[in-house]
């Protein structure tokens, strides 16, 4: 019965968040008044790697990227951490539909790792990611895709087919691809938690740096 009301509520909630963000950035807006300082929202749509599994929220890589942006005076850029542990590519579209209400400008799509770890069909994953990218593009959200690899013990055919999905999609949609999210972190015991797959705080700092450096060239 109150469906419209809920929508209203969430829209209001987001608007309030937006207003808060606006209040914070208003002085710089007033000072510079340049298009480059328009609010710019990045949504990190991902899994446990994005959520910061086993870490404080502030230690997750999207939060660290946010800090780096602030440190570089890119105050107009706001970050939404949309990482959910255990989520597979199948959840991408539904979740993006939720975040689209906050009118993101850029989506960093970091899904797929759980599909690989659970041995799900590579074709299915590709199709799920495609639908998510299609929806983003249709809603004027730019997309950066992050590549993923799975450990060699999953077998050569599967690991290869899995890793190929990301460059193929990047090519198909002509979107930027960060080749491997866990570059310089994966398989290094000192940079990972005891489970061997989730980066620890130090590892996450490296991931944040990798993402940040890649991201810089796509910011307004």
């Amino acid at each position: 019965m109150n469906k419209n009301n809920f929508r209203k509520f969430f829209t209001t909630a987001f608007l309030s968040l937006g207003c808060l963000a606006m209040t914070l950035i208003t002085p710089s807006l007033m000072a510079q008044q340049t298009p480059a300082n328009d609010p710019f929202t990045i949504v990190f749509l991902g899994d446990s790697l994005t959520e910061g599994y086993g870490l404080e929220e502030a230690e997750s890589f999207p939060s660290l990227v946010g800090e780096k942006l602030k440190a570089d005076n890119l105050d107009n850029v706001s970050i939404i951490n949309a990482g959910i542990s255990g989520s597979t590519s199948a959840s991408g579209l539904g979740r993006l539909q939720w975040y689209i209400r906050s009118q993101p400008d850029l989506m960093i799509l970091a899904l797929g790792a759980n599909d690989g770890l659970r041995g799900l069909s590579v074709e299915e994953m590709k199709s799920n990611l495609s639908k998510t990218i299609d929806y983003a593009i249709a809603n004027d959200v730019k997309v950066i895709l992050t590549g993923m690899q799975i450990p060699p013990n999953y077998g050569p055919e599967y690991t290869e087919a899995f890793a190929n999905v990301f460059p193929e999609l990047a090519k198909q949609y002509d979107i930027p691809l960060l080749p491997f999210l866990l570059k310089d972190v994966a398989a290094i015991p000192e940079l990972n938690q005891a489970d061997g797959i989730h980066p620890n705080a130090e590892g996450t700092r490296i991931v944040a740096e990798t993402v940040y450096q890649f991201l810089l060239s796509y910011l307004p």
């Binding site: 979740r95 659970r118 041995g119 013990n153 999953y154 077998g155």
Partner: protein
């Protein structure tokens, strides 16, 4: 040694009493030994079960090859001789069949695996009893889980490509105890030799491998696994500083889910054993009291002949010890012979895997309780010897002097009972606190019952008016003989309390551990169902005539603050922090599931109104609320995927977790979380055995992202154990009730015998049979009814208290049992009194006068 001879002579001369005494104490002791043996047997069964699941006592594992130094450190920590070890390498890999492929768990084993439990193969049968393992390890062959054989359409003898090499399928795994270890990793197993797994070429830089060593330790090795894990963690931190490389798993941890139930059960059974023994003690004391009263004259003569109270004391003491020892020996003998016969007698009725053997500890304890216990129980009566005066011989009825015994002697004679009872209670309940509360409750019950009795008997004097002479006499009897009546009331009341207490707690506990029959146990659990997949999923399972059940939305959120306070306590350990600030799975629902009940607060009405000034309602699972220190009215703020959502706790609910329905700690009122990104969890129940794999395959093929977990195996294992526990509890409850009834009989019999003189007098005065019968009926009817009512009411209060202290608030009222107990005890009191009166009534007054 005169008193020793006299004691033996007394026993043989009073054969009837001796037999009764032995039987009475024997029943209590049989109960005690049986309860103790059951307890140990179940303990052992569960321990073996958890060992066979882990296949070892302790497992050390790492994501990296274990080093000699790591072995050494771990083994030093175990600090015991190691009976044997087994090494294992395992990892996941995608395995392709002719048509499709499936993620599987590859497990490389050595010739010691499994050290506990067994793997059952289709062709070779038991791995432990065949040479299949040696053949596997020394060839390029593999064993493949049955599910995987079906999914990949494989046959024994087929070649299977794994990594760089090909392997022959030598056999099919039918039963694998370790398959229940990880519920969530639902990947079928492939076993191969340790050397062969290294040859697959899949172990490379970056591979996710688990290296494990399993330890089998001596059976005598005892440890606290939490402590051991902590030491292990400290050791690891010392060696690797902040990097966690190793993990240790103990078999006890494997059965942690059952640990709570086991803990409850042990405490409960311990206390039942104690109650059974206490009942036997009360019965024995009453019998002894009746006997002792009748022997005052003999003792007075003994003293006239120069005996001292000390010698009379010794004689009686020896008598009790002899009788107590005979009881203990007979009880042990019966238990020794009967217990191993139980599985034969109750074949099919006894739970699976149950082996009942006599515990030496129980025997020793029974002997101790039979001898020392009976002395302790009879001490207050024995102490009366000191009040016995030979001059009493010149009285018609020899009685100890009526002057109140010295309070010091009272304390000295009653305190051993109290202290022994207290120590036993602490020992059986495994806790000083629980044991003390139990004894304190008991004492409180005695005082309360005494007070009620006094008040009721006082009231009797007010109702003596009226025409009925029998009623008048009965009420006046009660009122005048108030001390005797109070002790009778106390005995019956206490008996009723104990008799009702056991089934009362039993019901609560059984409700908790046993699978409720009105819930259908799901066959499959499904996770990660996307909202837009629901229709397709429903269609897919409908094709095979099944339906989805317990469909629940699941929303991931992070708890941000409680009552406006951000959760950030620097004092908390990392684990506590993780627990408090962990990501939570929320749900929303308009009505409760049948496995849920509101225990505090109110249910919400309808959907939350966005325009309302109120916060949306939150319902918390009661134990979760307690752990978090939250109650009704508190507010909780969540970060629901970047949107702050606040709610107020409006109720807490109990959840029957073993209904195996999907349940959540935190549930929101509908209308708040509905639009949030979510997945669904659901179950499918009532799936035919033959349909299982096909149904699972069709779901996985249609919607590959959905995790389908076959919970039947896990459920079956848990049900197996809970069935066993429920059975033991039921049997023990009946045993204790039986002991209680014997006591009740002894008490009523004693009380009527003490009315011997009054009844005789009435007969001399011309009362006929029916008058006396009526008087006895009224007297014992009133005593029995009020005592049973008070005892049962108290038992309800006590069982509630006990449930609250020990069993985490599990309490349920069973009106049927309660009403039955009151009626039965009342009827039994009257019946026993009548039977005892009958023998007095049948004798002629003159004969009675002669006998006294």
């Amino acid at each position: 040694m005169l008193w020793l001879q006299l004691a033996i002579k007394e026993i043989t001369n009073n054969f009837k009493f001796s037999l009764f005494f032995i039987l009475n104490l024997g029943i209590g002791l049989i109960g005690f030994i049986a309860l103790d043996s059951f307890k140990s047997s179940i303990d052992e069964h569960l321990e073996n079960n958890s060992k066979s699941i882990l296949t070892a006592d302790v497992q050390i594992s790492s994501r990296f090859p274990l080093t000699a130094q790591e072995y050494e450190l771990s083994e030093n920590l175990l600090d015991t001789t190691i009976e044997s070890t087994s090494d294992q390498i395992s990892f996941l890999s995608m395995i392709a069949g002719p048509e499709n492929s499936r993620m599987s768990t590859l497990i490389g084993i050595d010739d010691n695996y499994p050290q506990y439990g067994d793997i059952i193969l289709q062709e070779s049968g038991s791995v432990a009893r065949s040479n299949a393992r040696a053949e596997l390890i020394n060839s390029d062959s593999v064993w493949v889980a049955r599910d995987l054989m079906v999914i990949l359409d494989l046959e024994i003898g087929d070649r299977l490509k794994i990594g760089d090499s090909e392997y022959t399928i030598a056999d099919v795994i039918m039963e694998d105890p370790s398959s229940t270890i990880s519920v969530m990793s639902n990947f079928p197993a492939i076993y191969m030799g340790l050397q062969q797994i290294e040859n697959t070429g899949l172990i490379q830089l970056g591979s996710r491998i688990t290296y494990s060593r399993f330890y089998k330790l001596p059976t005598s090795y005892e440890y606290d696994y939490r402590e051991l894990e902590e030491q292990f963690r400290d050791m690891e931190q010392e060696v690797y500083r902040d990097t966690r490389r190793l993990s240790m798993t103990t078999h006890q941890e494997e059965s942690e889910d059952l640990g709570e139930v086991l803990g409850y059960m042990n405490d409960y059974l311990g206390l039942i054993a104690l109650i059974a023994l206490f009942l036997a003690g009360v019965g024995a004391a009453y019998l002894f009291r009746a006997f002792f009263t009748s022997r005052f004259k003999d003792m007075a003569i003994l003293m006239c002949l120069g005996g001292t109270p000390r010698e009379a004391y010794k004689m009686t003491l020896v008598q009790i010890v002899i009788l107590g020892s005979i009881s203990a020996l007979i009880a042990s003998m019966i238990a020794f012979l009967a217990l191993p016969l139980l599985p034969l007698l109750f074949d099919g009725f006894l739970p699976r895997g149950f082996s009942n053997s006599m515990e030496l500890n129980s025997l020793v304890l029974a002997l101790f309780m039979g001898t020392v216990g009976s002395i302790i129980c009879c001490l207050p009566i024995l102490s009366k010897i000191y009040d016995l005066n030979p001059i009493g011989l010149f009285h018609e009825n020899v009685q100890p002097s009526s002057s109140a015994p010295h309070w010091k002697r009272h304390v000295a004679s009653y305190s051993p009972i109290l202290i022994t009872f207290w120590f036993l209670a602490m020992w059986q309940a495994n806790s000083v606190f629980v044991g003390t509360v139990f004894v304190a409750g008991f004492l409180a019950a005695i005082f309360i019952l005494g007070g009620i009795a006094w008040a009721i008997l006082y009231g009797c004097t007010r109702f003596t008016a009226g025409n009925s002479i029998t009623r008048k006499i009965a009420l006046r009897n009660l009122s005048r003989n108030r001390l005797g009546a109070v002790s009778c009331f106390l005995a019956i009341g206490l008996g009723s309390l104990l008799i009702n207490l056991i089934p009362q707690i039993q019901k609560g506990l059984q409700d908790y551990i046993a699978q409720p029959s009105d819930y259908s146990v799901p066959d499959f659990f499904m996770f990660d169902i996307q909202p837009d997949q629901l229709d397709l999923l429903q269609d897919t399972i409908a094709e095979r005539s099944y339906t989805l059940s317990f469909l629940s939305p699941m929303i991931r959120a992070r708890l941000e603050s409680v009552n406006g306070q951000v959760i950030d306590d620097p004092e908390e350990t990392p684990d506590e922090q993780l627990m408090r600030r962990r990501m939570m799975n929320l749900t929303y629902q308009d009505v409760l599931k049948d496995s849920e009940n509101i225990v505090a607060g109110e249910p919400w009405e309808g959907t939350w109104d966005f325009n309302s000034d109120e916060l949306p309602g939150i319902s918390l699972e009661e134990n979760f609320a307690e752990r978090m220190g939250l109650g009704i009215g508190d507010t909780m703020s969540f970060d629901v995927q970047s949107v702050p959502i606040e709610g107020r706790i409006i109720n807490t609910r109990s959840v029957i977790w073993n209904s195996f329905q999907p349940n959540f700690f935190v549930s929101f009122q509908p209308g708040v979380l509905d639009p949030a990104p979510k997945t669904f969890v659901a179950a499918i129940s009532g799936v035919q055995e033959t349909d299982r794999i096909a149904l699972q395959n069709s779901i996985v093929n249609t919607l590959p992202n959905i995790s389908v977990i076959n919970v039947q195996q896990i459920v079956a294992r848990i049900l197996d154990i809970t069935d066993q526990i429920s059975w033991a509890i039921r049997v023990m409850a009946y045993l204790s009730i039986f002991a209680g009834l014997v006591v009740l009989f002894s008490i009523a019999r004693y009380e009527v015998k003490s009315r011997f003189w009054e009844i005789n007098l009435l007969k001399i005065l011309g009362a006929n049979f029916s008058d006396v019968k009526q008087i006895v009926e009224i007297e014992f009817g009133i005593l029995g009814f009020f005592a049973a009512l008070s005892g049962v009411s108290l038992s309800l209060a006590m069982s509630y208290g006990i449930s609250w202290f020990i069993f985490d608030g599990l309490w349920s009222f069973s009106p049927g049992i309660t009403a039955f107990t009151i009626v039965a005890i009342c009827a039994l009191s009257i019946l026993t009194a009548l039977i005892a009166t009958l023998s007095v009534l049948r004798q002629k007054p003159l004969e009675l006068l002669r006998t006294t």
